[in-house]
Amino acid sequence: MLASRLFTVARAFPKHAALGCLVPRLKHTLPDLCYDFNALEPVISAEIMKLHYTKHHATYVNNLNITEDKMADALKNGDINTTISLQPALKFNGGGHLNHTIFWTNLSPSGGGEPTGDLMTAIRDDFGSFENFKKELSATTIAIQGSGWGWLGFNPVNGMLKVTTCANQDPLEPTTGLVPLLGIDVWEHAYYLQYKNVRPDYVKEIWNVINWENVTERFAKARMEKLQ
């Protein structure tokens, strides 16, 4: 846990970027990582985990803060051109921060196996079997062109589970309306040092560290919110 202690614990606070707001904007920070960099070996190497968290995710966080500061200024000044031109950076860095925050919780050194209970029932209902679901999410994720994420999402409109993908750092919920339950990062930085160009091997191995407890928590929360 030592490595993760070096990084600030963050909890989500609502951000106030409205016009004329006097409350100082709270900066985004890297979330706490609940395991050491080497905890997911041999599935994901310590070298990858360290780079992925301390460089890639940290860069999204820093650039998100910079972009939001610029956005706040542009909004304050009524500068619509700048507000609009900042949107790609907001989506990219905001999405990157959201996606990676979810990803670290989706993984665990004691993960793997299969889900149980309501989540397993839902997977069987919506995909036929766990094997079918695993095949579909794997194939769809491997086939992503360029950089992106494979997702298991919850559709709050019909209550069903769905497998889908997003390009680059496009965040799942704003892009598709699906609530993210489980994400697989297939940007090359997520696996290249260990698996090189053989993305299918990485996607095959990552199932051994999926934190089904976390995925179940997200599913339960999404379902509860749908009922309200």
Binding site: G146, Y192, L193
Partner: protein, 258 residues
């Protein structure tokens, strides 16, 4: 075998053999039953110390090879599916210039894999070892100064695009398509996502940098800016002028044919 068939087989063998000594992008302008993985104009360690041997090897034999295999398979499927479709029996260049005319069930696969095949061929074709950050020469150099004011202004702009591209893609220096057999069309910097290519926009690329993470991750990890610096040191301006001339020859041929 029929004598004409023997002749055709011999001719196609000859064209495969001769492509081994020419630029990696030679052959994209004419139809072939199947396309080989282009040979690199240098050994795998030929771009050291800027680009390491391991990267060049996996980039060529892993990534570029996969695009080659998948492209050939998709082309075969398309040709078998519709024996009357003339676009499926056109050159890779024509296919890229007419993506919208590919049947929808093959379009994405071909856009990605023909793009990947051609983009990498152009990438390899602009580089060679020991270039030492030379400044450009020839027609391309003069035209860079005309359009961008100076080489350093051009390099700054190109670098900024390469550094800020989100996700996977390329940055290109291309000529707009020729409207005259004699005048050189202006140069323009563009970017493309994934394996998209400015050829599909009717442009003629003369210089390209690959900023997919696989192009630099083994050596530089997240530090794309270092890869861009390394790449500038490898740009072979003679090769860039040759590529520029290759497009011009094709345009002249088109005008002659008309």
């Amino acid at each position: 075998m029929h004598p004409v068939c023997i002749l055709l087989v011999l001719l196609s063998c000859f064209s495969v053999v001769s492509s081994g000594t020419s630029a990696p992008y030679h052959g994209i302008e004419k139809y072939a039953e199947e396309y080989p993985l282009p040979k690199l104009p240098y050994d795998y360690d030929g771009l050291e110390p800027q680009i390491d041997r391991a990267t060049v090897k996996v980039h060529h034999t892993g990534h570029h090879a996969a695009y080659t295999t998948n492209m050939n398979a998709a082309l075969k499927e398309w040709k078998n599916d519709d024996t009357s479709d003339s676009l499926s029996r056109s050159s890779l260049l024509r296919i890229l210039q007419n993506l919208q005319d590919i049947p929808v069930q093959y379009r994405t696969k071909l856009r990605n894999n023909v793009g990947g095949y051609v983009n990498h061929a152009l990438y390899w074709g602009c580089l060679s070892g020991n270039q030492g950050n030379r400044t450009p020469t020839g027609t391309v150099a003069a035209d860079i100064n005309t359009v961008f004011g100076s080489f350093s202004a051009f390099r700054e702009k190109f670098t900024a695009e390469a550094a800020s591209l989100f996700g996977s893609g390329y940055v290109w220096l291309s000529r707009q398509s020729s409207t005259s057999a004699t005048a050189k069309p202006p140069l323009v910097i563009t970017t493309s996502q994934n394996q998209d290519t400015p050829i599909s926009e009717g442009l003629r690329p003369v210089l390209v940098i690959d900023v997919w993470e696989h192009a630099y991750y083994l050596k530089h990890q997240n530090l794309r800016a270092k890869h861009i610096g390394d790449w500038w040191a490898l740009v072979d301006w003679e090769a860039v002028n040759v590529l520029d001339g290759w497009w011009a020859k094709m345009d002249v041929k088109v005008h002659e044919d008309l």
